[in-house]
Symmetry: D2
Subunit: 448 residues, 4 copies
């Protein structure tokens, strides 16, 4: 009985990302906890905190046990956390194993859960890194291919000046380059072991606490934070903000596609668009709309998760539960956003003739700024701007091309040439190619 | 692979509400759509828009068909909406039924989906109405039982003046009384048929559109809106805000319980509290913390849903999908919040002696305001207030009861009497009883 | 040094609403507090709680005093609330007036501040009611004038079926009708007296508390809540949600105008559009963009204010301050949104020829649904839909009008007639006129 | 007529931060724009894009002009941006200066406004860096001074195990260390020149665009982004998230202080607390409540600003205005949060005896975990845990110290010793001192 569309059979093609969701299965969660408990015992055994034999037995049991989430549910419902139920289940399954008394020695639930989450987030970041790299590579190809394809730049929905489709594509990609880079910062911030004991002091470990924490971090491939961070949620809050930022970029990509595909403009064709139950002609930009919706969802979930960093005292159940209620959906929707953007990238084709029509309906208004600068050869710029502004109004009122009006009043300048030359695109093509070059140059750093 | 804790086996006891979730199963959603299609055909048959025989056949097929959500998934993924897939599945299942050409005659996907949602929300509101009524009844019992049990009122966490536990309970209940009343407004706003055709004009219905809409509304037990509301999402946005408001009240109940149960104050005992994996003495207010977390989650989801009312043009896929991504979780968490609050209500017991200790640690500071008013018999109030303020400082510095200091300086007044009399509680007991009376008086109106 | 653009000289034409802001000046706030204190004394005098002479003197002092906000600042900074500073200032100004000892008798700061806010919100609601009524009247005029002006309805940005501009205008107006009605509910909820004393029990008033509260409510023209609502913030939270809902509707109006005014579509001309610092042809839909931005801001502020309803214990300074930090800006931006929408309404002119071009680029795809229903005379509907879908693709590929292709394959139907008749608009004109009629019918109820 | 409490005289001591607000005055904004225009002309003059003489004249005019915000208001209201009005005002003031035709050559409003904001944010970050450093230094002092002062750690509001006040202080500081470090990342991200011309292509600059951008960046001390970022708002969105993260940490500090100062616990005294208008004994933790409120406000504003990164096409007025409507308030409240935290730091004094009482009400339950580990010398840990859990219940039921019960049942262990030794604090003291050492070690890096 799904609370999330991602969890339905019906809507999973739109809103689910199986690969990202793997990390948030109950099996994966329980598995990670067992891995932490096993590693804790191993390191405690090596340091003599618990008997070596116990460490070995605990390790084997943790590796071999398959826990049944349903059986842990009732006790989890009581305690708020699944760890006591998990420990009890292991002991119930091995009633005669005396070694199990050394299980979970000196740790607390939050250590196991937060560390387990750190472990699970690593493959998620690997997955996303590959997707962002693929997205950047695809955008780079598209930007290169259409570096000089002219189209109208728009602000406030109004035609501004010419740009190129390649430059527009590069503008989708530039911020993604930043997120590709900062993903590494996220990895460092998130791959933190938590081992602080009941209330952050590791008291049950005696003097060996910090040494044990360092060794356990090494065993698990996580960072040693050097102190307790039970109540410091800035790592997860920052990750939430990172996802919101990434999704805003992908949402912009979706919104721009919806606008470019609008009937009457149709600057971009999107194959695989959606049909209507009643309108035969409809080709709805469904995936682009999904992207915009996921972005809104993620920005909202991220705000709630950032708010949960207001974590009271040494541990705050209410704030911690708020993280649990938002993080999985936020991650899955972010993963789905990346997958949807990748899919969309293969489905879009610019329509050069529609773009040409979109730039100029025959009145040449898109060249008004460049005409002004040309006219500065004859007039001071404020005067030139006033003249062109006035001719723009005349052009619109009488449906006469602006170039014709300018040629009428200032015949000494070749106004037609201005619209054809490469100068009209300014740095557009160069930015498109530069973006592709930057992607190529940095591709190695993400894969390593 | 759950995006929502509510959808896990492990955490369902904490965050799931099966009864609310029923409404959001795929089975329920598909069922509601079939019910709309059947009713549409029936009414169209009766009005002669489609053949009577077709209406009968469609009705029977819709009643008898069990759709398999998984089979509709691929086509839903393409179209963004499940309706075309649903229609195709019905036709595939009955390839020789010519009547099916009259299925979904003149309707659009959004009509079916929005109307289906309206149908499904009705039993949800019934369920919640009963829960709110039970919660109010429980609070009324508690308020009555402890109408005169003195405890410290607190502002900013500081002791203010005496109140009674019954008055505190009533304060949890007063706003719930308002939500019990406004649930009826929600019902009216949400039980609206949508039937506007492809783009809000019902063009495919010819002149009979409005008559058909009215008849269909009556058939389904929904309201006839009298016009298209495809792009008017104020009903759902208002419902989201209503849930946020309700959950803020329940979250306050949770937060107050966490504070009252704090070690060292313990004014309330909560049975069934949660244990720790390492601390034997722990009795964590888990359910109260869950309530606070659900409130934060719901307030956040509600904001996203309210934002989706910024719905562009005649239909906005991105905005509509944003509703889908938030509404089910918001409703399920609201349902879970009500269930959790009901459970908690049975688990709390006030501790009169702890409350008495909490009121007065022997220094009588909680009576400072009432002492001031007593002293006004001898001094103007600003002077009285200055005297008492100064004696409060002396009392704290020397650990001497304030009443003793006042008796030393103003022996003509009986300072001890003030602490014992019923006047000290002001209207607290009356408010507790009045709340219970209001609940009793209005109980009938909710059940009807 | 303004934290809010509304408070700047530079941006006030865009983001300020002087009339709404009046309510939130310090002068208005202090004035309202003085009015409450005067009325409290008057009623207490009449009931014999304080001497009649004191009541008279306090009333006169409150009426005649002009407080200087700057002088209250330091003490307000210390106490968190301005009331102690206000009382002290009155006493300082009248050092010899013994009557002033009866000032603020038995009340607490929150009583004065919350009641003062209630008083101040009443004229704000009056102002907005008049603006919503004017907006509805303007929309009704526009809907009537263009009830039959055909334009393309769009979903997902794609052309759907024909509608009329009047129906589009009516769709902006329908939800506003709802907000015009629910404004009355807000008035009732907000015009609540708070008088509960130090901690909600009115203890300082003795047995007369409830009688006094009722009398004071009558004196001030506010409702008597019948109990303490210090910690029940559902009234303000509901008001915040109401503003968010209203602003989402106005934001949709803005977004739709931005889309309709897009270069290349230009279905609507907006006079008074904004110029660029460098592009002479630019006519940016500035006011429409402001409306969309104000909507986003208000939805966000409203979420914070709704979250502040999680108000702990008997009074929660942190939650209360959060209200203060959001409410004034939320109200002023809502007022500004209404004013901006009113201004925009006078600036928009539909362009029938652009609308005609937008409906049909010559391929007739907008009629695809109605052609399908025509074709049902010859074929079962699924077959008809498949035929038309296929001809839509052919039409687009070969730039041949869909009607020509249909005429080629099904010459027995007059395909051209379909595009011309009034049936093509369905209920569009009727909905436009019905909306105007509803506005006219209800106009009286708002003014009363 | 203030929309923001920060802009009032009455509330400025609570919610204003004059130093942060300096950056957002109209004077500062206009000044920064003039500085950009002057530098642009200077660099264009040096590169021969405009005449050297014009560059000199423009520079002088920009330096000498004092613009009157009120005079620019009407035109700003029309255009949505103040730049056209600013240019016009300069030309009006110097009607005969022909050089002014070269003012703003090839730039667009957004270049000037975004670059001006970048310039203004730099001193703001300097200011905050110093405050964060001071806050860390103060926390380090406090942590060192009380590294071994025992108090109860709490989770879910319940006593967990002993910790030290120094460790609690260090926990407030650890995440701030992270924000001190990441402030540098923010500086890099924010100090970006924008120079992209009308629509991101710098077309008006001819081939020299990128060279000009690099030179202008150097002239202004900003980074050269190497491309247009008009529509890439990830820098500001990331800054918003950074502020939300910082404020959540400060809000936690405030919330913890409110909890520690609670009547009945009083582990911390806060001098300078607020008084009540009616309760003489009240000492409300006003500043701590302000901190919590500012945190909630900032988290909300940040979410709106992060959402504005969904920026459509080449420039999106609605999204841009949304940034303007949130950023100043967000920055001023963040600055106020830092100032308030600094002030609070000087006002808090731990109360060792209250902390001792808070740890142990005589029943020793806080030692239950450490008793369990002691008992493991005699029993397997699950048995030990079960025994101690059972004795905890007995201890509570009969008000008998847990140590007495354990001594009764297991006389061979010295249970009293456990409560006294330093081991009971675990790593608490070490963490407190380690935090102080880290602050000292890194202090230099922030100041440089």
């Amino acid at each position: 009985m799904p609370a999330a569309l991602a969890d339905t059979l019906l809507y999973r093609s739109l809103f689910q990302d199986q690969d990202s969701a793997e990390v948030f299965t109950e099996a994966a969660e329980l598995q990670a906890m067992l891995q932490i408990e096993a590693a804790l015992a191993k390191v405690q055994g090596a340091m003599g905190i618990i008997p070596q034999a116990a460490a070995g037995a605990i390790g084997q049991i943790c590796r071999e046990t398959k826990l049944n989430a349903a059986e842990l549910a009732a006790e989890t419902g009581l305690n708020g956390v699944p760890v006591p139920a998990l420990l009890a289940a292991l002991r119930r399954a091995h009633p005669d194993c005396a070694h199990l008394q050394y299980l979970h020695w000196g740790a607390t639930s939050q250590d196991i859960i937060d560390s387990g989450l750190a472990l699970r987030l690593m493959p998620l970041l690997d997955l996303w890194q590959a997707r962002i790299a693929a997205l950047l590579a695809g955008l780079a190809r598209l930007a290169t291919a259409h570096a000089e394809l002219p189209m109208a730049a728009r602000s406030y929905g109004q035609i501004a000046t010419p740009t190129s489709f390649g430059a527009v594509v590069a503008a989708w990609g530039w911020p993604l380059l930043g997120f590709a880079d900062s993903l590494q910062t996220q990895r460092t911030a998130l791959s933190r072991l938590s081992l602080s004991g009941a209330a952050g002091t590791l008291a049950a470990m005696g003097l060996d606490g910090p040494k044990l924490r360092a060794a356990l971090a090494q065993e698990l491939g996580l960072n040693d934070p050097g102190h307790s961070w039970h109540s410091d949620r800035s790592g997860l809050a920052g990750f939430a903000a990172w996802m919101a930022g990434l999704m805003a970029c992908l949402g912009k990509f979706g919104e721009d596609l919806i606008l470019m595909a609008q009937s009457g403009l149709s600057e971009v064709k999107i194959t695989g668009s959606g049909g209507s139950s009643t309108m035969p002609q409809k080709q709805n930009p469904v995936a682009a709309s999904v992207l915009a919706a996921l972005a809104r969802q993620c920005i909202g979930l991220s705000a709630t998760l950032q708010g949960a960093a207001l974590h009271r005292q040494q541990r705050d159940g209410a704030a911690w539960f708020t993280e649990w209620l938002t993080l999985p959906q936020l991650c899955i929707s972010t993963g789905c956003g990346l997958a949807t953007a990748l899919k969309l990238l293969d489905q879009i084709t610019p329509d050069p003739s529609a773009m040409a029509r979109g730039m100029d309906d025959g009145l040449n208004l898109i060249y008004a700024e460049s005409f002004t600068f040309l006219l500065c050869a004859l007039l001071p710029r404020p005067d030139a701007q006033a003249v062109v502004t006035s001719l723009c109004r005349e052009s619109q009122a009488h449906k006469t091309p602006l170039a014709d009006l300018l040629a009428r009043d200032f015949p000494q300048i070749d106004w037609r040439a201005q619209q054809a030359g490469p100068a009209v695109l300014g740095q557009a093509a160069a930015e498109a190619r530069d973006f592709a070059a930057k992607v190529a140059a940095r591709a190695d750093s993400w894969i390593a």
